[in-house]
Symmetry: D2
């Protein structure tokens, strides 16, 4: 049974900071947000986790394998190197959506995202190493079948982008509503989803749902592991089988 | 009349690179993609342009003020510092969508995104400095009214994310279809759109369309300028007026 | 007794890469070298180690607390994100210089720094966690007494730089020859040295030696710990006592 | 005749910031310093200049081709993305050392490096585009003859480092005292020097001086140009001739 550890990463007081004393250059905000995300991706990724950029001022991570001390070090390191600080909420559960809801509540209870006095809150509980199991995380890696041939080399770049976004928006809502799962677009034509224990049938349904709703054809590789990297890497390999064999769903067990 | 210069930035042969000889660690791909985008944001932004991460392997930029020599330098600098290379197509026009379509065609004609032998193609034409005018670029900066109060401090972080995505997906399609405009989510609850000459009425329609379709309330500040930074900065200031006065649409002229 | 774990980090085939097919833009080489160093500093630093930029194509790190698996992950991550790769040699010993000599030999035996076929060699042994002790690392943090008042606010910036370099060159040779220690300039007027078990008298001698030889007045804080961060942080606090009390040598035990 | 434009880049109030409220993690300071330098290298380098890391809290740049407006943009961009700010002094002259002295004075007059209230001072004058000539900058690129064969593949990495530092310290003093030149170690076994109009004989003397004083054998390529990149690139090519032909001094005119 899955036991997903989810961390909500929220920049403190970001909205006001971006316009105080005057609005800041957009290109600089984009640079800073992206590099902050990239650093968190290295920190979390080097410990077996995945972090998703989401809205950049609020990022969502699957952090099985990271302790509360690790979370504290991340905060300290960002404080030493950026003009902003982070608040972190950590929670676990069978349902990824429930774990994220709990993590969010921990941060909300500490104060508003635009509360000038809420800085670097750190709340929650991490799974102890001794309690980690090889089933804790289930990751599904979806991509669009032959995106390059069907879209990238054919349509203008924005219409390709619209198609990918349709596929993502549809999958995101379906997986959250039907399966308590969290879906993230990660670039190209790839969507990574952290799920509870789902079956091959659940993934086939998801693919058909998206195809029927918005006419975007997905395939998916699914993996399980002790942490997001292990599960996600198995999912990548399963997806390679889809690509090689022309199948729509491949699970790694 | 607008004369938008649009550049399509496409990483060469990226799909195959990410899985050769084996799939690469996802966290590292995220880090590299984000830092590459951040660097392009600095390069383009320091010359008055805006670049949007879009799909990360394909990025779209408004590059009024950048010459073809500037584009060539960007390619050279990335080649010296990253394990990937970029192909660039540059085109201009009254319609941002048309300009992007032309830029895309230039790159597609040079070869597929996964063509091993297509590297660092650079094609197109930039607007000469002498021909730049203060009307060339129109930027609209939308955000969700009181996102912090209505969503961030209330819902779990993924459900907030879903709401913002709905608003974006709806606005993106409407602005492209009805107004030949290119819309980009830039973090938080912000969407930046590059438009041809639109009226206040056009923006009011867009806002009502999104509210009716997905129940997400937007406000917008609009600016014009010789380049994306000038237009975008004016748009940011106009948006501050919306926030202060409670209006839904503010234009900077 | 100290047991310093030292890692030599050497970029593979770097000299030839910088001029193939043509010499590369110097500013890009500087950017890449610095960012590669910064990433290694985060990776090593987040695990309690210190890495020093040294010559940038060859970097020296005190890596107590990092396992061989950690070193392998660092190589993999750099391979995924940079146009160059790293070879690593790891060795331990009472004498930091001897440990570095052993680490260097491991890499040299695998092949020349400009051997096209030597890539990502990883050799050596790390201290097992169970064998770490609070005495393993001794770090001394030197700085120039009142550098700002005596130099930075008085001389032109290059003459200040020359003075700091004199102090560094003299200290570096003395500490290596007399005390088997490795000294690194880390910016500003700061030099960090990894030492075997030295006494307060040894540090007083070092300070007097530098003052007599090049007329640069240093003070020093010294700390011990299980890893470089612990020892170095204690050293920083000891140095603050020098600054507050006007003493020349403060040890943290 | 040379007309070198030199900029002193000084981080405001850095010493106090690194220890307030407590000393900050050394690895984070190293990361931030290096990334700040890398960003300045991109900004300055993309406009034809060179910046040298020097002491990291004080950096020296050859900025022919950058206007005062460019310098102001650099300050603004750093302010938007880092927890520190920069003060800049800009001056020009036949003598690089004199230009640097003037640039330093401009910053010192605005306030101490540790003056809490001195922030983002910007003073000086840039060379107007119309007045730039192909002789303005002379760059010499020195390296150690066969460093890899003689040192890197033979000695332990610190003893190689000591040898390179000896060569640098000696060259640095000689070039400043005898020739009003500014010398900077840039990694590997490379030293880049910005000079006034020197002759081949001056470079031969410099090489013999260093060989006699510290037994380190250097070779040098020299170039001239309108800016540091043009001059430095010509110098790199001249150095390649030294490497190919076994000569000690090659000038590009």
């Amino acid at each position: 049974m899955t036991n997903t550890q989810v961390t909500l990463v929220q920049i403190d007081n970001y909205g006001p900071w971006t316009v105080t004393p005057e609005p800041r250059r957009e290109a600089d905000l984009q640079t800073m947000q992206s590099r902050l995300y990239a650093d968190i991706s290295q920190f979390v990724g080097n410990r077996g986790g995945y972090v998703f950029f989401s809205r950049f001022d609020n990022m969502i991570a699957v952090t099985n394998g990271l302790s509360m001390a690790d979370h504290e070090l991340l905060q300290e390191s960002v404080n030493n190197r950026y003009p902003v600080t982070l608040s972190l909420g950590v929670a676990t559960g069978t349902s990824p959506v429930q774990a994220l809801a709990d993590a969010t509540t921990l941060v909300q209870e500490a104060g508003s995202a635009q509360d000038k006095s809420r800085r670097e809150c750190l709340k929650g509980r991490a799974i102890e190493t001794a309690h980690q199991t090889a089933d804790d995380v289930q990751i599904a890696h979806f991509d669009v079948i032959n995106a390059t041939g069907n879209y990238t080399d054919e349509l203008n770049a924005f219409d390709t982008f619209i198609e990918i976004e349709q596929g993502y928006a549809e999958l995101m809502r379906h997986m959250r509503t039907a399966h308590e799962s969290l879906s993230f677009f990660v670039g190209g034509d790839n969507i990574i989803v952290t799920c509870p224990d789902l079956t091959e049938g659940d993934y086939e349904d998801a693919i058909h749902h998206v195809e029927d709703a918005v006419d975007v054809e997905l395939q998916v590789g699914v993996g399980r592991g002790e942490n997001a990297h292990d599960a996600g890497f198995a999912a990548k390999h399963a997806l390679e089988i889809c690509r090689a064999d022309g199948t729509r769903v491949e699970v790694d067990w």
